[in-house]
Symmetry: C2
DNA sequence: CGAGGGTTTGAAGTGCATCAAATAGTGTGG
DNA sequence: CCACACTATTTGATGCACTTCAAACCCTCG
């Protein structure tokens, strides 16, 4: 997977410009920039390390920068007046966040917190703004990414409405796998079960029970955070019946 | 409300170019076009009337055109393998749909059906595509609209996760009202209760019960499709506690 | 070893869905 | 103008899925 490669590089990172550019080139949105544009961004990039639990910004904060995850995990969330939390997304290496503030009066529409020790690139929104207004192609690229995001959200909405808890977990697992590979599989859950639960909009207890139900229904094997099975189709048949998309379901865009 | 004005015009429509352009100028996305651009679109526009129940296209169909609703209502939906239906959106006059196919390989990502006798403008995607690639400003405008859409969807996801059925209805009603007006209010539901129910992701029976619960809790009055109350805050206090947005919640963009 | 967080299990409650049936509304033809 | 047919809406009874509260368990790390 692409992001593993990125994270390995980051571990041995020298913090030179060219190294930053290498990271930037991995991001779908920025891949379409010219090298000159990426260099311009890289010149203003700042590398940051954060411990688990670090709150990067809160919903409503003024947004001067956006971020690229190099290693670790970051969660985006919003809080309601009566104290509930809705997870907007949980991002691994290779993903941008906060860049949409550019179109939302430079205010972040969600809060962000580091949930696994993370290395981030902090990039000024102003530079992105510049580049976009100078280069129509970049605006088109961003549009494309945005539309893709919108479609995924449609799908997520559909999932919370139409899929059962075990099916949602099955779908989540499918997205972690390389779906071209039909044979046996094995994976580690990328972060806390508790967090996966809230990402999927359910309670930890429900997650636990739903996972054992998924195990019983599909024959996958579970030990701790490790999950194994004999064929991806086990999962697909069970999970994808309640989904309007065709089988090889896409992972999220970056 | 803007769309009422539009629909009145459409009823007495002469089908001239300048009249089409008038409609186009009402749409947020296209308002930012130059008159020349709108004219270019208008030249290729085709007016269509459709009865209730008419299926305009199905998810996966090739998308050569997109649509503007002039009068009536159109629902967008997707269907799962096991026959469930998820309503993506229900659109009144003044709203575009299908334009995002431009960025999705010219394939519609949902199906569309007329649910109240409708007048539509059918516009070629190719023309929009042309205009966008020629004019960066238009791409930026579209980006802005797209980001706004994305934010709304976030919110909708949050609502289905965190709000109860009566709260979701309260929120729905709030969006139908002019929220700057603090005093007594009165409105008619814009379409079938059954359809509102599925738009909000619940069964008709649940909608009915939830509406009477909302009535009991907030003191609003209901008779048929007509709903009245003494103060908007009645609804806001009840519904917005489980929402992460601040009170004057925004209506959807066009 | 012991503290603390993550995870699982159990019991009970809540909310929404489902099935079934009654009722209200609407438009039709007589 | 009325009776009928048909649809939209409401109401009741029941079931299931998920939540909530409580407690046990497990694992890791100091």
């Amino acid at each position: 997977m692409a992001f593993i490669k990125v994270s390995m590089d980051a571990l041995h990172a020298d913090t030179t410009l060219s190294n930053y550019m290498h990271h930037l080139a991995e991001v779908p949105l920025l891949r379409q920039c010219t090298p000159a544009q990426r260099q311009h961004l890289a010149q203003h990039a700042r590398l940051e390390h954060h411990a688990k639990g670090k709150v990067l910004f809160l919903s409503g904060d003024r947004a001067d920068h956006f971020f690229l995850v190099l290693t670790g995990w970051v969660k985006l969330y919003r809080e309601t007046l009566d104290g509930m939390q809705a997870i907007v997304d949980v991002l691994p290496a290779g993903h941008l966040f906060g860049e949409t503030a550019l179109f939302e009066e430079n205010v972040f529409p969600f809060s962000a917190e580091v949930i696994e020790p993370a290395t981030l690139l902090r990039l000024p929104i102003a530079v992105l703004s510049d580049e976009i207004s100078k280069d129509p192609a970049l605006a088109l690229a961003m549009l494309r990414v945005m539309v893709q995001y919108r479609r995924q959200q449609d799908q997520e909405l559909e999932h919370t409405k139409l899929q059962s808890a075990p099916q949602r977990i099955g779908c989540f697992l499918l997205r972690l796998l390389d779906q071209r590979n039909q044979g046996p599989f094995s994976l580690n859950l990328p972060y806390d079960k508790t967090l996966i639960a809230s990402r999927l909009g359910m309670q930890p207890e429900t997650f636990s029970r739903a996972l054992t139900r998924l195990k019983d229904e599909t024959g996958i094997r579970i030990s701790g955070a490790r999950i194994e099975g004999d064929a991806i189709s086990q999962l697909a048949i069970y999970a994808c019946g309640a989904c309007s998309s065709t089988f090889p379901c896409k992972d999220k865009a970056g």
